[in-house]
Symmetry: C2
Subunit: 147 residues, 2 copies
């Protein structure tokens, strides 16, 4: 006799499907995981990469300013920048007795080029799932959502 299986196995109703918060969370988690895998060979995590790219765009900026820009608390910026400094990617100059002026080392600039390319590659992969005007509208909506 046949095994009578899977007749309604994946037939669960998802009551969260039409929630923006839920879809946002799922999509974000998926993309961050993808990006994480893409960045893994560089030894950097997505958050570290974001800090590295902000420093490249703002040579000599302060640690706290980066955190403010990226929504990372001062407390959490400490191990983040420490790891970049330890990895030889970032220099911690002195701006002031109490603040650091962060800049990229030569290795940091090379790494920034590499990871920037990987991020571009990931964005391109996303675009293959979404037509360009939809992508732009999406970015616009998300930015507006955050104010």
């Amino acid at each position: 006799m046949a095994k009578q299986r899977n007749i309604e196995a994946p037939a669960l109703v998802n009551p969260l499907e039409d929630r923006l918060g839920y879809q946002l969370r799922r999509a974000s988690a998926l993309l961050m995981a993808e990006l994480g895998r893409l960045l893994a060979p560089t030894g950097l995590r997505p958050t570290e990469v974001s800090v590295l790219l902000v420093i490249r765009a703002n040579e000599g900026c302060q640690q706290g300013a980066i955190g403010e820009l990226l929504g990372i608390k001062p407390t959490n910026m400490v191990p983040l920048t420490a790891r970049l400094v330890k990895g030889g990617l970032v220099d911690r100059g002195r701006a002031d007795g109490r603040s650091h002026a962060l800049s990229l080392t030569a290795a940091g600039r090379a790494m920034a080029t590499t990871v920037s390319r990987l991020v571009d590659q990931h964005e391109a992969a996303i675009q293959s799932r979404l037509d360009p005007p939809t992508r732009d509208h999406l970015i616009d909506s998300l930015t507006r959502l955050r104010r």
Copy 2:
């Protein structure tokens, strides 16, 4: 003499502004934090709430099926459901010697009503920042992004 301050204080350039992954992550983090604060008085976290609502919509479903629906690994479903059972919100019946049939207790049903209302309230708050057609388009795009 005036203190000559803040002349270029918040003037950092954000090179990630036009990245979908970045905006998605920031928006998601913001919304989840908001929802978390809104849910705090109930003693439940966002993830637990999502499980509770899935059980309400699928009485008697299995633990693993919920995880599959929500993208939560079996390993992580364990403490999640354990906490709901311990809180008297969920009953773990037996479906099979090896699987559990999850259902809501009376308290669980009441709690589901409460948190469902809070989630609705949060979604409404989001909508006030986004016109309805934009919201619908956003949900559609996010859902499509995930396939």
